[in-house]
Amino acid sequence: MAGCNSCEDVELQNRVKEKKENYCTFENSGKPTGLGAIKVVMAGQPNVGKSMLINALSGTNKGKVGNFSGVTVDSLEVCFEHHCHKFDLIDLPGTYSLEAFSQEEIVAKDFLLNEDYDVIINVVDSTNLERNLLLTTELLELNKKVVVALNMADEARSDGIDIDLAQFKKLLGVDAVIVSAKNKEGIDELLDTVHTVADNAREPNNLVYSDFLEEEIIKVEKFLSERGFSYKDLTNREVAIALLLKNEKVYKQIHENPIMVELFPLIQDALEHIYTHLETKDINEIKAIEHNGIARGVVLEVVNQKAQPKSLSLTQKIDSVLVHKLFGLPIFLLFMWLLFQATFEFGNLPMEYIDSAIGAFGDFIGGFISNDDIRSLVVDGIISGVGAVLLFLPNIIILYIGIALLETTGYMSRVAFLLDGFFHKFGLHGKSFIPLVTGFGCSVPAYMAARTLKSEKDRLITLFIIGFMSCGARLPIYVLFTGAFFSQSVAGNVLFLIYVSGAIFGLIMAKLLRVLVFRSKDEPFVMEMPKYRLPSFKLIWHTVYSNAKGYIKKAGTFILLASMFVWFASNYPKNSNLELTYQSKIEKTDSSEEKKSLALELKQKELEQSYLGQIGKATEPFFAPLGFDWRLSVALEAGLAAKEVVVSTLGVLYSIGEVDESSHSLKEIIAKELTLPVAVSFIVFVMLYLPCFAASMVFAKESGGFKYVVYLFVFTTTAAWVMSFIAYRVTLLL
């Protein structure tokens, strides 16, 4: 370690810039200088603060943290520098056990069993050690290098839980560090320990099983040692345990060894003893009983806990209200209603300022450009299009804050509990609630969150209806249209109604899919209800910040390009004949009224014969029964790329068609140009039709093929068309 001491006092930040020569070597592991990244796998049960620990370790905020199973949906790698060593941190989805249950647990299991890595950091919740140790024992049986991070030390202390670290390490024969990811406590020590463990040879663990099992282990171990058997880097005791607990990997690899001839009867005999002792032949149950015994024993000896943890009692108290038989659901609906009210009310406050600022900015920039075409491209194309999207940033931020709160406090699992009975009737699983609610933010993470569902058919049904949960990108369209046609006081309610009716429609479709397409047996509903935790401000900030940043980035790149494209397609091809005819017509008349209306007619004619107009016209018959003109049709088609483009397209189309420069606001134009039935019909269509291109790609990946995207397209388009038609006709009658 001598070589490393010189590096220890160098500032972390400077280290990145330093030359390769300064990089230390792994003195014992023989890895190449400077390249020896320690590959660390983070494994733990759900809700143990694993991602938060990764953030603390890496000092960056890359992982997403949450308080319900399924937030860390994919393996992600975060690299950072520590003591001149690179650590590759691999964050696995939370898993209760290596006997995988859900799809994302399979990801974790496969990685732990089959991939190559140096050290496992097993993150455990110190306030719930007994259950967490069930996974720890399984990990120790993998015979890999393990460091246990006893996380949430802060919470444990306030709960009056005292853990005897030395005794813990001794009993399990494993390195362990007390940490608090939240308070950044024990982080350096954890890294040091991982470093040391990675550098040194693996130490066998110290798991002690029940007496009768130990007896058999010793017998098998003795037999192996007498024959001079050795297998890889495992001790004969480890081989004996693996054989008795029916470790498939070990069996597969040594079954051709001649020693098996003598070994088999011995093991058979041993297993018979174990079976009679535990009155079961189910090896998984035997393991479960053994692991539980070890966990209970360890907790008895190392945990000093006087009463039930305070945080758990508090959780139960809160639950008695939030999961109340009668009030639970109304309280949930109230929360959702408040969220949409806030989204509209607070979101609209800065809107006027942003709107007029964008208008003024457009005029200001336009003043510098003399070329008519370029000015039109910049002002009517880029600024109108991007501006129309940026306008809704405040609404988006509020919506994301709400969803982040739901996610991080642990309330989401309660809602799944409350809704399971109801969801079950619609052929959904209570857990489907989590991806569905995520869908109100964005469909992309929602599709991925559906991985928590175990049953393939539950998952597919959920995937198919996620799109009906209106995502954040559709919000601007709703805000625009409700703002244009409803008074400020009811617009929030209308917004809530839009979201609720989308959700209800989704449920009905789920039932339909369950009955007609995805028939299957009911999937069990077993779910941990994590303790309530106060959301950390940093966490909420991080989630909202990264989502808002993504939104702005999209506006500055994708939407910008789309706006330019829409502008081009709506201005070209130019028809000089048309222009000339109208010019002469305008010159002939004296009345300024007449001139104005002729100019407007010219603009409209030009738009209609543009590329965009042609596309719109070609598809108009399809949309005509829904009351949409070609402009709305084009906006919807553009929305297939991204929902934000709908508003930006409308912004471009209507700002070109508008000759009266005094009204800048798209809202005013729309209120003037469209009727209420058309608006309702349009909202319904937007609510139900295909999610954006990016989401469709993720959908294809998660559902298992592009053919499903075709199904989704047909399914959502039909639904959208039929429902819009009904909505249009019904509103016309009113």
């Binding site: 306030t127 009983i289 758990l312 139960q316 399971d420 069990p524």
Partner: protein, 74 residues
């Protein structure tokens, strides 16, 4: 007796699991094994879903899963 027979606030000791396969495994990994103490904390309006406590863990179960857990009331 079945876990569903316990009333709210009552505790029992797990005697066996009638479940099989993945469900059984999931119950194991949440600490629901023979000999574990389990307490019914809450249940939903129609008793379709119940909330139980094992050690320091709160778990939600559907009625049909709870029926698979054999307990002896304490």
């Amino acid at each position: 007796m079945e876990l569903t027979k316990l009333s709210k606030g009552q505790k029992g000791v797990v005697k066996g699991l009638k479940a099989s396969g993945a469900l059984k495994q999931r119950l194991f990994s949440l600490g629901i094994v023979r000999g574990a103490t389990i307490e019914v904390v809450d249940c939903s309006l129609s008793k379709a879903t119940i909330e139980v406590k094992i050690g320091n863990t709160l778990v939600a179960l559907r009625d049909s899963e709870a029926k698979d857990i054999e307990v002896e009331a304490q």
